[in-house]
């Protein structure tokens, strides 16, 4: 069956993560997140071949060659919005955060109750646990000496990012 040419060839966003690619005779949906992952360097490794490519019978293992494991891929889902922050203090040892640990903070994530977040309180960056409430949210301290702080519309108290991982040196 002859396909009618679609016209014009173009690329259109459909939803946040999908693009519709229309060429002359076909159209496909491209998942942008998969394409983005390939574009991210460094640390990105390319598949390597276990044997040198000679003329002759190819090794069946080649079909199963996979990318080497990459910590960047594991830890950083959104590179442009991910920052590294150094933790200072001992109040969250119970949560697994020790003094001088490296925190991986993703600013693109929506804060969810129970998550550890970085919050800017009166100009200072702090590490707190977030709790969603009917009028915004609450920042809970794991240290009994400090009261919970309400998120305010003004810039005095606001969320800076969500902590996704803690790197602790043993």
């Amino acid at each position: 069956m002859q396909k009618q040419p679609l016209n014009p060839p173009c690329l259109m966003p459909i939803t946040g993560n999908q693009l519709l690619y229309r060429s002359k005779y076909d159209q496909i949906y491209i998942d942008v997140t998969k394409v983005k992952r390939l574009l991210y360097k460094p640390g990105q490794t390319l598949p390597f071949y276990g044997s040198s490519v000679k003329a002759g019978f190819p090794s069946p293992a080649e079909d199963y060659a996979e990318d080497a494991l990459d910590l960047n891929q594991y830890l950083i889902k959104h590179p442009a919005a991910t920052f590294f922050v150094r933790a200072s203090g001992n109040s969250m040892i119970g949560a697994g955060i020790f003094d001088k640990d490296l925190l991986i903070v993703d600013r693109s994530l929506e804060p969810v109750s129970g998550k550890v977040v970085i919050a800017a309180i009166n100009g200072e960056l702090t590490v707190k646990r977030f709790q969603k409430t009917s009028n915004g949210g609450l920042l809970i301290s794991e240290n009994a000496d400090y009261p919970p702080i309400r998120l305010s519309k003004s810039d005095r108290v606001h969320i800076w990012g969500v902590v996704t991982n803690v790197i602790h040196n043993i």
Binding site: F84, R86, S88, T126
Partner: protein
């Protein structure tokens, strides 16, 4: 300013200024500093009293931070629009012609909100059918709270351009502005109405193009290539330099930086310009500036050749007895590596492996791990930045700290 505030929220709502290289001039001001009437580009020593009286905070330019944050912003923008031309460290043009035009305003508002959330940097967006109009729309967007302004509608455009001062149009500098005002062309609308062939006669074809763009006729396509046509490297000195030996070291360092950039974009250079100058602020009898242009027979990217030529040039233009404030090197007439035409008289030089090796070592172990000896080790003439903020995004030992309590 925005970059510094992301990591140091105490800077918000206060007068803060960022200083240029060597803490010389003001290159960025917070809104509160602008309110104190501190002009852009003014040397620090001229506003010392304002700084003391209003406790204006000073920061040295943290280029490592700004360029990296710019990269994040541009990367984020790319997820919303693949057709992007990165115009400068904080500006880019996007081509939305393939998008649903009716939804574009809301889309732009969404882009701005997401970029602020992801990177902390507030961006403003101007929508228009041409680049020049988009720049004008962006100028307005910066002054309104939504941060987005739409100049696509012809009626809105006419109303705005009739009040838009001609000096704020992209591509029109002070000199052209004063000539236009003398011709009674005061607003952008006046410029559009002026007979175009006259514009070309009195000024140049670029101004005619600007006028066309203001009318909605696109003359400037999106340029996606980021290959620079010239590479420049220079810095002001930390203190006045009088010795030729120090000038040789400095020019060697700048030439090395420039040739690294040259190799990175896979280009060759055939014309080098070396210049030096004393301070602009000194009286006329102590002022001396000169430059030397070297044309190479064979285009090259060989650092040793470039270093040799640059040092010979600086020796030629050096005059003893002056306090030099700055020197620099410019690589002009760049061409891609793939075009090499050797002259009949030039001996084919051995393939340059040293540069490639140095680039690899410096890339792996850090900038300036291995240098050419001509640069000098101590470099007492190098500019110092006294109030540099930490390199939050490029240095493990300078990360921002969050208190746990």
């Amino acid at each position: 300013m925005s970059c510094e505030r992301v990591f140091n929220p105490t800077l918000e709502k206060k007068p803060v200024i960022v200083l240029s290289n060597n803490d010389g001039c003001v290159v960025s001001r917070s809104n509160e500093a602008k309110a104190l009437k501190i002009p852009m580009g003014v040397p620090l020593f001229q506003i010392q009293d304002i700084v003391k009286k209003y406790k204006v905070q000073l920061l040295s330019s943290n280029y490592a931070l700004y360029s990296h944050m710019s990269y994040r912003v541009m990367q984020s923008i790319t997820t919303f629009c693949p057709e992007i031309e990165i115009y400068s460290i904080d500006e880019s043009f996007l081509d939305f012609s393939m998008f649903n035009q009716a939804e574009l305003f809301n889309y732009a508002v969404n882009i701005r909100q997401k970029i602020i959330q992801w990177t902390g940097i507030p961006v403003c967006i101007g929508l228009a059918p041409t680049k020049t109009l988009a720049k004008a729309a962006n100028f307005i967007a910066k002054k309104i709270t939504t941060g987005v302004f739409d100049l696509r509608d012809v009626i809105v455009r006419e109303e705005i351009l009739k009040k838009f001062p001609v000096g704020e149009i992209w591509g029109i500098g002070r000199r052209i502005e004063s000539k236009l005002l003398a011709l009674n062309i005061i607003t952008a609308w006046d410029l559009i109405e002026y007979p175009r062939h006259q514009l070309r006669k009195i000024f140049n074809v670029n101004l005619e193009r600007t006028a066309l763009e203001l009318q909605g006729v696109s003359c400037l396509p999106l340029e996606k290539s980021c290959i620079k046509k010239r590479i420049q490297s220079s810095r002001s000195f930390g203190r006045p330099v009088t010795q030729l030996s120090e000038l040789r070291e400095a020019i060697s360092m700048y030439t090395n930086i420039a040739s690294e950039k040259l190799r990175k974009q896979k280009s060759l250079v055939s014309t080098i310009l070396v210049y030096l100058t004393t301070s602009r602020f000194k009286p006329i009898q102590e002022y001396y500036a000169n430059q030397e242009i070297i044309r190479l027979i064979v285009p090259t990217n060989d650092t040793r050749m470039l270093l040799h030529k640059a040092v010979v040039a600086i020796e030629k233009i050096f005059r003893p007895g002056y306090d030099y404030a700055k020197c620099g090197v410019m690589l002009l007439d760049l061409m891609p590596e793939t075009i090499i035409q050797e002259s009949l008289f030039d001996m084919a030089s051995s393939k340059n492996k040293i540069d490639g090796l140095m680039d690899t070592i410096n890339a792996k172990f850090g900038k300036k791990t291995i240098l050419f000896g001509g640069e000098g080790f101590h470099k007492p003439w190098l500019a110092r930045s006294n109030t540099l903020s930490p390199r939050y995004t490029t240095n493990w030992s300078e990360l921002v700290i969050a208190k746990v309590y």
